[in-house]
């Protein structure tokens, strides 16, 4: 009885279940990783593989952090667009951390872009 119920449950799950999404991964960003820009961007956009909450966003130039307002109470989403302060030419690194909305896993990463003088 138990064996049959378990087999039915397993078969049902294997046949019906859709693909399991991995953690929220950064699929793309604007500016893109290693982008060489001739003008300073006014916004920063991060596009994730699944709905997530953006917990951390640090914009760093020459080891100095530039403040970027981030609403930590915002609802989970796949795309986040943040307004940037006026940026001067130089090399920038963006560090981010997000929490996947469905499985609660934390993912982190970084990317860089250059604003030419």
């Amino acid at each position: 009885m138990l064996k049959n119920a378990l087999l039915a449950l397993a078969a049902c799950g294997i046949v019906v279940a859709g693909p399991c999404m991995a953690h929220a991964k950064l699929q793309s960003s604007t500016p893109a990783n290693n982008a060489h820009l001739s003008e300073a961007p006014q916004t920063l956009t991060l596009n994730f593989s699944e709905a997530a909450k953006l917990a951390v966003l640090k914009l760093v130039r020459d080891g100095k952090e530039i403040s970027v307002p981030l609403d930590k109470s915002a609802k989970a989403g796949q795309t986040f667009t943040l307004s940037l302060p006026p940026l001067s030419p130089g090399n920038y690194t963006v560090q981010w951390a997000a929490v996947a909305a469905d499985d609660g896993h934390v993912t982190k990463g970084s990317f860089a872009f250059l604003i030419a003088s």
């Binding site: 138990l2 378990l6 087999l7 449950l9 397993a10 049902c12 799950g13 294997i14 019906v16 279940a17 859709g18 693909p19 399991c20 999404m21 991995a22 953690h23 699944e50 909450k53 917990a55 951390v56 930590k72 109470s73 989970a76 951390a97 929490v99 996947a100 909305a101 469905d102 499985d103 609660g104 896993h105 934390v106 982190k108 990463g109």
Partner: protein, 289 residues
């Protein structure tokens, strides 16, 4: 996969949470299932150990949330940033931790000899051991009802098996050969079925997680899963040796078998710890590809 000290600490805290929760829940299952075979002194010792494991399980659960919050910013201050902890708690970890802590608290009812309290302890053991199913990769599946039920069964069976090892060791160290043999035989009788369900549920979950097999086994998640499966095979080997060769010798009163039985329990604990450590690693550090 970028891994730093925070991630490793969070994975280790999860492994400790698994070990303590399964140990405490399994001790309650054992106290109920093998109660008539235990002497009062052994029952009290198992309860004391269970109480310690409840404390460790609760503390490690909370520490893990603080470590995950710290890992977001990479700074110690992040551990105490309410907004980070709030994000983790609201994404499922809060539900899982809440159920686990309530379940662990109910386990303490096992200190009472009253029958109704014993029932509350069993409910607590089931809630605590299956609390890990309230969050995790299966919640990324649609639908996920069958997977959640299978994971609950898998977790409950794991707690029953792994959590019985410490009580069995208490008996094997302090009891006489006949008592050890009787406990091993009674536990082994039900464990055979429990392990079959554990494996069936585990394999079914694995089949659900594998999309492209080649891609899966080449991923960090797949590689860590392979280490876990090797440890499971080793644990099954020791358990089979224990049940098929040692237990019959114990029942015949073989003194050498009692010594080997104690060693086999320690070996099972070692492989069990490796399984929980790898599970904590691939559920914290990686995701299915």
């Amino acid at each position: 996969m970028e891994i730093n000290g925070w991630d490793l600490a969070a994975a280790f805290a999860k492994a400790v949470t698994y070990s303590a929760t399964f140990g405490a829940a399994g001790a309650v299952f054992f106290l109920v299932y093998c109660s008539s075979l235990l002497r009062d002194q052994q029952r009290a010792r198992i309860r004391r150990l269970m109480g310690i494991l409840v404390g460790i399980g609760g503390a490690a659960s909370i520490l893990r949330i603080l470590l995950l919050a710290g890992s977001m910013s990479g700074e110690i201050a992040g551990m105490f940033d309410g907004s980070f902890a709030g994000m983790i708690l609201s994404a499922g970890e809060g539900r899982a931790t809440g159920v686990r802590i309530v379940g662990l608290a109910l386990l303490l009812s096992a200190f009472s000899a009253k029958r109704s309290f014993r029932g509350a302890a069993v409910v607590g053991a089931i809630a605590a051991s299956t609390s890990f199913a309230w969050v995790g990769h299966i919640h990324g599946m649609t639908p996920n009802t069958a997977a959640t039920l299978l994971l609950c069964l898998h977790l409950w069976c794991a707690a029953f098996w792994l959590g019985a090892l410490l009580p069995l060791l208490v008996i094997a160290k302090g009891g006489n050969a006949a008592q050890t043999a009787a406990a091993a035989a009674r536990f082994g009788k039900l464990a055979l079925r429990v392990v079959a369900v554990l494996l069936a549920a585990g394999v079914s979950l694995l089949l659900m997680l594998i999309g492209n097999a080649a891609q899966f086994w080449a991923s960090d998640y797949g590689r860590m899963m392979a280490i876990k499966l090797l440890a499971v095979a080793a644990l099954l080997g020791v358990a089979a040796w224990n049940k098929l060769l040692l237990t019959p010798r114990l029942l015949k009163g073989d003194a050498r078998a009692a010594q080997l039985f104690r060693r086999s329990l320690l070996a099972e604990m070692g492989f069990g710890a490796l399984i929980l450590l790898t599970t904590a690693a691939f559920t914290t550090l990686a995701g299915p590809p």
